[in-house]
């Protein structure tokens, strides 16, 4: 059962990811990204990270991507022109990428310690309570810092996007 679920959602994620890259219209890419995020949320659930799954839905799919879609619609961004891959990208990018991916896979297989397979419910540490506990004890300072970061981001966004009054 776990395997099937994993394969389904992994397939969704990969397909949507590929779609993100090949689609020429930003909004299609945005939606496929939303698909990836949904699939990832499900995978998080499988990995026992229920809070993170919910956060993924709320923050990423529910807020950030909506913002993307909003901006795309606002700018009414059309489809891209035919992408002419400059020789750099053609002869360097793709092969490098393949090398990169192959190497990662190899390293993962090599480095990962042989560990128990992922069974749903085997790890109960991802509950909201646990996250909250360590967020407000061990990681308190980073947490506060992120709040400041958010504040700064808000200010920056407002300053950048406001109408010049002059």
């Amino acid at each position: 059962m776990d395997t099937i679920l994993f394969l389904i959602f992994a397939a969704i994620a990969v397909i949507c990811g590929i779609n993100l890259v090949v689609q020429t219209h930003p909004i299609s890419s945005a939606l496929s990204l939303v698909g990836v995020m949904g699939a990832l949320a499900a995978l998080y659930l499988l990995l026992g990270g229920e809070f993170i799954a919910a956060a993924q839905l709320v923050v990423y799919a529910g807020a950030i991507m909506v913002l993307f879609v909003f901006v795309i619609m606002l700018l009414n961004a059309g489809t891209e022109k035919r992408l002419n891959v400059r020789p750099l990208g053609k002869y360097l990018g793709a092969p490098l990428l393949l090398v990169f991916f192959g190497m990662m896979a190899y390293l993962i297989q090599k480095v990962m310690p042989p560990s128990s397979p992922v069974v749903f419910g085997a790890f109960q540490g991802g509950t909201a309570a646990e996250i909250g506990k360590s967020l407000f004890t061990v990681y308190l300072l980073p947490f506060e810092v992120t709040s400041v970061l958010i504040l700064i981001a808000i200010l920056g966004a407002i300053v950048l996007a406001r109408k010049e009054v002059d």
Binding site: V36, Q56, I64, E80, L97, I150
Partner: protein, 109 residues
Amino acid sequence: MIPLGPLPAAVPPSWYLILSAILFALGVLGFLLRRNIITVFMSIELMLNAVNLSFVTFSYVLKRVDGHIFSFFVMVVAAAEAAVGLAIILTVFKNRQTLEIDEVSSLKN
């Protein structure tokens, strides 16, 4: 390595990591190939998601919550980044009437 033949009842964590590697590679690919600023930005988000997946996987392997915390922070940072980045994109569009990333190359020379 990945066993062929009948599927195991449950997959090893390394599969999740490989999935995240695939997604990350796709993100890089999109970053390299696409010309629309927004799409490029979304590729970055895809990479972040891939990293999150591996974080969560690690925290499953280690049976510790820290990975979740880190992916949580990544989400926060992504949110901030999205806010500022999209604002920047809006400004760029306002000034140049284009989203083509290659036409925004005032850093040249």
